[in-house]
Amino acid sequence: MSSLSERSALLALRLITYLVVCTVGFIVFDIVIKGIGVVNWSFLTTNPQGAAGGIFPAIVGTLYLVFGAIVVALPLGMASAIYLTEYAKQGRLTNTIRLAIVTLAGVPSIVFGLFGLGLFVLFFGFGTSILSGSLTLACMVLPTIIVSSEEALRAVPLALRDASLALGATKWETIRKSVLPYAIPGMMTGSILGIGRAAGETAPILLTVAAFSLPQLPRSVYDQVMALPYHLYVLATQFPNQDEARPTAYGTALVLLLLVLGLNTGAIVLRSHFRRRNKW
């Protein structure tokens, strides 16, 4: 039926699409193949020695930073999302909040770094520290968490709210008992995506927390830490002897990639699981 030109056009579209897919595949493949030989138990649990050695402090540092960021951003993000979906009326305040979220989502990560440097490191005097880095990352992931939490709240049918209100529940009781329980999984998905983003970002922590090399673990939130993405950057660009640094860099890249993609895949699986479960 279809003409030759039509079929070739369809084929071209398919080829272009799969070219992108293949490129992703190739990148992941390259890093897995060259990194897998390096990653073993001692790599994950020992300190770096120059360009060689393990990445234990960087893993711990990233976990601290991400944990700190989420502890701050999650409650704020959830509160924002609940306010915006359940309470906000159309008006100037709501528009301003929305504009702020959109603006925040578009701020380049390095600008977050400058901001963190100016506000947390210098003005509040937290210095380059876990505290400064976590707070900076928290600001950065806030819009991600808000947007996906809102989506999760909007997915809960209005009919459930009506049912609860019609039984004489107050608005907050309605939200707490017949909206949040069904939205929480979706909100968690959003925060996992936020965690993934925070774990992978380099630019903001470059200016607020990251240490080039720091064999001992931090003892307080005012200490500097190493972090996986920054460690990778350092290994890849700051060592003249790349023969030694390259395998370690590949190993670090693989760990980081697995961490972030693992979190994302987890979030996606979780999301589709809960979508299927909620059969309203």
């Binding site: 279809s2 003409s3 369809l10 071209a12 579209l13 398919r14 272009i16 699409t17 070219l19 992108v20 897919v21 990148i27 390259d30 409650p75 924002s80 306010y83 309470y87 301003t96 909040i97 702020a100 959109v102 989502a105 578009g106 380049p108 990560s109 390095i110 600008v111 977050f112 770094g113 400058l114 901001f115 440097l117 100016g118 506000l119 003005f123 600001c139 806030l142 808000i146 107050t170 608005k171 907050w172 009781e173 993934g196 983003r197 774990a199 992978g200 970002e201 380099t202 630019a203 470059l206 993405p229 990778l232 950057y233 890849a236 660009t237 860099a249 890249a253 980081l256 972030v260 996606i268």
Partner: protein, 291 residues
């Protein structure tokens, strides 16, 4: 008033306080960028930015010309966008109109996965794999060029363009398609003559949002563009972007120095540019959603 009612009333204000944090952060971002940058206006003054020489650490005479940095950012951004558009839009058309349901459900998350890859990992890949390819393909002394950065950034812009365009394409009313098909047009004609034009504002918005992401990208470019601040308009030489400048130099400056203030100005320019791009993109997006 009973406890239930008191609680009901007060919760709203708690939540509102949480929601206002976004506003506070945005205001603080602007405020602190300006605060740190402000003294620069007295001396050396904003006029010094309009020069072709960025050499803040030069012992003889420091140069704070932003032109090479702006040009570098502009060049990689435009080039990256141009490369990303065909992939992003064609991919969106394919996923929205041609792929089967199952294929779409596999492709979409896969493409979205690109957006999740940390930029430092992509930068690393660009450094060790892409740069040597560029070097030998063009017979260059180094593979760290504007083009290498642009290719890498294009790759980062594709998922943004693809997922928002796909959304726009799927929002085109099915009746348009049916009408065209019923007139005897084939699928490809229908897609390119009816569906894509109808989704155009969404596609344009997606391209702009992709651009916004590219302009602000730091790690990928700092690792593969060579970072020489040259005022030359060719993609096959080393270039230096605004983002890379901040990331590379902020660690070495004395807080409060002229150089430090100049870097904050670079940040302000960057913030302003991304803010404008995103704002326009969202305007476009909103008009198409209303239509």
């Amino acid at each position: 008033m009973s406890f239930r009612h008191l609680q009901d009333r007060s919760v709203k204000y708690f939540l509102l306080a949480g929601a206002s944090v976004s506003i506070v952060v945005v205001v603080l971002i602007f405020a602190f960028l300006i605060r740190e940058a402000l003294p620069y206006m007295k001396s050396p003054g904003l006029g010094s930015f309009f020069s072709e020489r960025w050499a803040p650490t030069s012992p003889l005479k420091a140069g704070y010309g932003l032109l090479p940095l702006v040009a570098g950012s502009a060049m990689v951004t435009i080039l990256a966008t141009l490369i990303a558009i065909p992939f992003g839009v064609c991919g969106a058309v394919y996923i929205a109109e041609i792929a089967g349901k199952r294929e779409r459900e596999l492709l979409k998350p896969f493409i979205e996965m690109i957006a999740a890859i940390p930029s430092v990992v992509l930068g690393f890949f660009g450094l060790v794999v892409l740069a040597p390819i560029v070097k030998s393909a063009f017979g260059l002394p180094t593979g760290l060029t504007g083009l290498t950065g642009a290719v890498l950034l294009a790759f980062m812009a594709v998922p943004t363009i693809m997922s928002i365009s796909e959304d726009a394409i799927r929002n085109v009313p099915r009746s348009y398609l049916d009408a065209s098909l019923a007139l005897g047009a084939n699928r490809v004609q229908t897609i390119f003559k009816i569906v894509v034009p109808a989704a155009m504002s969404g596609i344009i918005a997606s391209i702009m949002l992709g651009m916004g992401r590219v302009v602000g990208e730091t790690m990928a470019v700092i690792m593969v563009t060579g970072n020489a601040a040259q005022f030359r308009f060719t993609p096959l030489v080393q270039i230096r972007t605004m983002t890379a400048t901040i990331a590379a130099e902020m660690g070495e400056v004395t807080n409060g120095s002229t150089h430090y203030q100049a870097l904050f100005w670079v940040g302000i320019v960057l913030l302003f540019v991304t803010f404008c791009i995103n704002l326009v993109a969202l305007r476009v997006l909103r008009t198409y959603r209303r239509a």
